[in-house]
């Protein structure tokens, strides 16, 4: 039996909030879909928790700084950390911004033990932290025999460091992982191993509160109750990896190595060739009924410099995931090389282009590190993702390639009083679980108080159109302090066209965020039914939504 591998996990607690916070003293929370997904330790002291609603967080801590979720910002900021760790440990895997995983055995032998290694890495990070004003950052390092154990250990280490104000690494002794995991609550599976919340809650209702309880059942019983998932649960709780690894012969060399005769410095060309390789690569493994979960992407420059990084995705790396990761790695690498060049010889004011020319790539390589049998991606007959979803997501990928990711969008519920606010448009490439019934459809039925009554207008202008609404004497309509109209609206003038007002409803006042001078809004809304007589004596009836704000009338939407 091969010796179990040891993994080390370096965790920067609440990375996205720490990066987003302008300074370390003000509490800050990162919000996604109206819920807190990350918050700084300062906010944590006020009792702000992950998963809380925005309003709840604001109630607990009134001067909290609210920042929208921005994955790219977290990534670019994390590159500095990656660079520091990479100097000590050659091959690392960046699972997500704020989380680094690497094989512990080699580095810890070199640096004299797991604890010493962890201390050394954190020492190196401290100088970086001091430079870049991320003083609020909590770092934890955990070492264990399985990914789950190391993850839990790193979290425990970070929490311990925060309370003791001194870095404490957490090392699970070799071959003790099983005993160490046993008393952990089953909730850690949801937190660190992507097991969904319903399953966790079901386990608890079944009386299986700790991993020991799950482990004590036989694997076949769990498989009988949960199917494939049951086997995974058992593997996780006894300290094995989530998926058994499969042995598949490596793909032929021409599929996973690309050599350029001429050094290439154009990023787009490199990415295109990575894409070509990634398609062949995933195709090869899918033919063998398996999927690659961990991959090494290696770039080699003309000057002989190499960039190697591991990438891991428990659901298996799809073509788009490989390309996305390669892009991240390449951008970070090129940026670091250019900055290194400029700082290395300050007299030589090397322009970016010049530096890029020096670092043309000559070789790109993909190496499969871990492969498992592909079981979880079976398309289902009912529910789950179907063939239609699969082809649709391919088409969406193709469209984003054609037009750029900002031109292909999907809607996400975010809630709001304004018709424009209630849904947010996000780029389709940033949405990971496309087509799956997300939590959004449970919330859509809830309307905000003060929102317009149904039906909603089907044409909504992002930039409202300036109009004039006049009374019978041709005077511009206004609203007094009691939100009463000065007179009945009679005519709407849009550009040079006059519309006769047949009837109207409202005015409905909205006063939003009156406590915040910068963001407060005071406006009045009015539904109008207008009639226009065209040249050939045909009347055209139009219902619109007019808004009066700052003394100006605009048309925000049309009931088309």
């Amino acid at each position: 039996m091969p010796a179990p591998r040891r993994l080390a996990v370096l965790r920067c607690l609440d990375w996205s909030a720490v990066v987003a916070a302008k300074n370390s003293t003000t509490p800050c929370a990162v919000i996604h879909a109206q819920r807190v997904i990350s918050r700084t330790p300062a906010a944590m002291r006020y009792g702000v928790q992950v998963g809380m609603r925005r309003r709840h967080a604001q109630a607990l801590c009134p001067d909290i700084e609210i920042v929208a979720h921005q994955p790219s910002r977290d990534r670019t900021a994390f590159d500095a950390v990656v660079r520091v760790v990479n100097e000590l440990v050659p091959l690392i895997e960046v699972s997500e911004p704020g989380l680094i995983v690497f094989a512990a055995r080699g580095p810890s032998r070199y640096m004299g033990g797991d604890g010493l290694m962890a201390l050394k890495i954190v020492e190196a990070l401290k100088t970086l932290v001091a430079d870049s004003q991320l003083t609020d950052l909590l770092v934890g390092v955990g070492v264990g025999d399985s990914r789950l154990a190391a993850q839990i250990a790193s979290h425990a280490s970070a929490m311990a460091s925060s309370s003791a104000n001194l870095f404490v690494p957490y090392v699970v002794e070799p071959d003790k992982t099983n005993e160490w995991l046993a008393p952990q609550s089953v909730r850690v599976l949801g937190e660190f191993a992507n097991i969904n919340r319903e399953t966790i809650s079901l386990l608890e209702r079944l009386g299986l509160n700790t991993l020991h309880d799950v482990c004590a059942l036989s694997e076949s019983i769990l498989a009988g109750r949960f199917g494939e998932l049951g086997v995974e649960l058992h593997r996780l709780s006894r300290g094995d990896e989530q998926y058994p690894l499969a042995v598949v012969p490596h793909p032929p060399e021409h599929l996973c190595i690309e050599k350029f005769d001429q050094p290439v410095s154009d990023q787009q060309i490199i990415i295109n060739s990575v894409q070509r390789m990634a398609v062949a690569f995933t195709e090869y493994y899918s033919v063998h009924g398996s999927v690659c979960v961990r991959i090494v992407i290696a770039f080699e420059s003309e000057a002989g410099k190499r960039s190697e990084r591991l990438w891991y995705r428990p659901q298996g790396l799809t073509t788009s995931a490989i390309i996305e990761n390669a892009k991240w790695q390449l951008e970070a690498w090129l940026a670091s090389q250019i900055s290194g060049d400029i700082s290395g010889n300050p007299e030589n004011h090397a322009l970016e282009n010049h530096a890029l020319e020096n670092h043309g790539l000559v070789r790109v390589q993909l190496i499969a590190d871990e492969v498992r049998t592909d079981t979880a991606r079976q398309l289902r007959l009912w529910g789950g993702s179907t063939q239609t979803d699969e082809t649709a997501s391919q088409a969406i990928g193709r469209l984003s390639e054609l037009l750029g990711s900002s031109a292909v969008q999907v809607a996400k519920w975010q809630g709001g009083r304004d018709i424009l606010d209630s849904y947010e448009l996000v780029s389709a490439t940033h949405v990971r679980t496309i087509g799956s019934a997300s939590s959004s459809d449970q919330m859509t039925t809830q309307k905000w108080r003060g929102a317009l009554p149904n039906p909603s207008p089907s044409v909504v202008y992002a930039e409202p159109i300036q109009v004039q609404i006049n009374d019978q004497f041709g005077k511009l309509l206004s609203v007094n302090a009691r939100h009463e109209l000065s007179a009945s609206p009679v005519v709407v003038v849009i550009g040079s066209t006059h519309y006769k007002v047949n009837s109207w409803a409202g005015p409905w006042p909205v006063e939003e965020r009156w406590w915040d001078l910068a963001r407060s809004r005071r406006l009045v809304r009015l539904q109008l039914v207008c009639e226009k007589i065209t040249a050939d004596n045909v009347s055209q009836i139009l219902a619109m939504l007019a808004i009066l704000e700052h003394g100006e009338w605009t048309v925000a939407a049309i009931y088309s």
Partner: protein, 227 residues
């Protein structure tokens, strides 16, 4: 005598052949996407037949297009909204469109790029709501239509409502690049629910004229729609 039997045999076989052919053609299976009850009677095949083009014009065109799509998206089809500006997403939800299977695409307005985008969308999506740019060439339109027929998708054409420009309001007079199979021309007759400051917009009476090359006889409907 021999010739006679032979002749009879051939006659018989021809008759049989005809009969079987008729049997084949009679239950003629048209693949279609389901539509909600309130709009089913408007369509000639009581559903959106795959590979065809429907045009929704007039001042209630967009909301009619959305309600045509609602049931199909709920049943798992994907909807692409291509080049339609200012779509009210809340209205789409109220019509029953499943937003988790809806993609909004904003292509450039040039003829070639627009048609390439639509062709790419047709590859993977069952349903499209598109707004056709003015300068689309007839050749590109024909290519898109051929692709649509071979990939068995449904395309619904709407107009981008532009206020203050009276020219595009009566856009139906313009030359149309796509020859629609079904044309649903809408015209709002009256709105109800508002009364000089009281109430709110609730229903409207819409006159819908159904025509097009797949429609045997032009028909007019007067329907009350909740939006």
């Amino acid at each position: 005598m021999q010739l006679d039997t032979k002749q009879r045999l051939t006659e018989l076989s021809i008759k049989e052949l005809l009969a079987t052919q008729q049997l084949d053609t009679k239950p003629q299976v048209v693949e279609r996407l389901a539509v909600a009850d309130d709009v089913r009677e408007l369509l000639p095949d009581s559903g959106l037949v795959r590979g065809r083009i429907v045009r929704c014009s007039g001042d209630a065109g967009l909301s009619l297009a959305l309600s045509l799509c609602s049931l199909a998206t709920q049943q798992g089809s994907w909807l692409g909204v291509v080049g339609v500006e200012h779509l009210g997403l809340l209205a789409a939800v109220e019509h029953g469109v499943a937003l988790e299977r809806t993609v909004l695409v904003h292509p450039p307005k040039t003829s070639r790029e627009w048609s390439i985008t639509v062709a790419a969308a047709i590859e993977g999506l069952d349903l499209l709501i598109v707004a056709v740019p003015e300068r689309l060439s007839v050749n590109d339109a024909r290519r898109v239509q051929t692709r649509l027929q071979s990939r068995r998708a449904v395309m619904i054409i709407v107009e981008n409502t532009v206020l203050s420009q009276s020219r595009s309001m009566n856009g139906s007079n313009e030359a149309q690049q796509f020859l629609a199979d079904v044309v649903l021309d809408t015209k709002t007759k009256s709105w109800s629910g508002v009364d000089r400051g009281a109430g709110y917009l609730q229903h409207r009476d819409v006159r819908i004229r159904v025509s097009g090359r797949r429609v045997a006889r032009e028909r007019n409907y007067l329907v009350t729609r909740s939006c």
